[in-house]
Point group: C2
Chain length 199, copies 2
Amino acid sequence: MKQGRIIIVSGPSGVGKGTVLKEVMKNNPALRFSVSATTRKIRPGEIDGVHYYYIDKPRFEKMLENHEMLEHAEYAGNYYGTPEKAVNDALAQGISVVLEIEVQGALQVMLRRPDAISIFIAPPSYNELGRRLNGRGDTPPDVAAERLHIAVQECLNAPKYQYTIINDTVSEAAAQIQAILTAEACRSEYTTIQLKEDE
Amino acid sequence: MKQGRIIIVSGPSGVGKGTVLKEVMKNNPALRFSVSATTRKIRPGEIDGVHYYYIDKPRFEKMLENHEMLEHAEYAGNYYGTPEKAVNDALAQGISVVLEIEVQGALQVMLRRPDAISIFIAPPSYNELGRRLNGRGDTPPDVAAERLHIAVQECLNAPKYQYTIINDTVSEAAAQIQAILTAEACRSEYTTIQLKEDE
C-alpha cells in the first residue's frame, strides 16, 4: 500500500478554501482533514477529536518540548497546533492528510516535512477578493479595507508553495487540486516498476 | 499567454509510448511532437519537416558546434538530434512540445533545460513487457530475450525522470499524463495572482 501524503493548503480568508476542499474530498475517500490540538476551551456543539483535540496548556507545552507538533501558533492567548503522531498514523494507513493552515504554520511544516505537497489557493482578482470578503455587504468599510489588505499580504506568500490554484470556479479549482494529487502520486520516487519475472 | 513547456517522454520500446501520447494529444490542441533533424537519407513516403528535418552531415556538425541542438545521438553512422530553435518557437507561441527520446538524449535535455517536464513510461510488469515486445509471437527466442534485457536496463533509468507512469491501460496512462500537465501548469512559478485593483 502506498503511504499517504501531507497536503498543506493555505489561502486568504474569503477565497473559498473550505468549499473547494470539500469538493475534492467528495471524490477522494483516502483524504482526510487533520485535526488540530488547541488549549482554548471547548465550545457548545464542538466535539473533542472532531473539531479539535482539547488539551491543557502544560500538556501542549510538553508536546512542544518533545517536538510532537508538526506546526503551532498562538492566537489570543491560546495555542493551536498539529500533533504529528495523528498525521503519521493516517499516512501509514495510506490516507493523505490535508492541513488547512496559515502561512506561518505552513512554512514550519514545509521545513520539517519536505515531502509534503503545498498548495496556495488564491482569488481570481483583487476586486473579486474584495467582493468575496465583503460577502453579505454588511461589513463596515474600514474593516473590509483592513481584511482586504491582510488578504493581499497573504497572497504575496504564494511563491513559497509548490502550487498556486486560482479559485475562479469551485469545480475548476477542485479539478486542479485533483490533478495535483494524481500527478504527485506519479512522481518517480513513489512509483515502483515490477522488473522481476512473475512467480 | 502562457509559455509552452518541454515534455520529455522516454520508455522502453514495446511499452506503448506512441499510443498513450496520441491519446493525450487528442485532448490537447496546444501540444505537439518535436520534429528531429537527421543526416540519414529521406525514405519513400517520408516528408521533410514532418517525419524529420533532413540535413547533411556538415550542417548537422555546424549546428552541434553552435550548440543549436537540444540533444543528439549517433546511430548506425547517422546523427539524430532536436533543433532547439524550432522547440523555442513553439514554446513562445504557448505550444508545449513533446520530445519522445531515448534516455541519453533525455538526460542531455534535463541538464540543459531544467524547466522541462520529464516522464518515463514503464510497463506494468516484467512478464507483460515480454509479451508486448513479442507482439506477434514471430520473434526468435534469443532476439526476444535480448530485447527484453535492453528494455529492463532502460527501466532502471526511471528514477532520473520526475514522473513514472505505469502503462497498464492506455486510458489510465493518458489520464495520468494529462494530470501531470495540469498540475505542472499550476506550479507557483507559472501562476500570477492579480493583486491590483481593476482599471
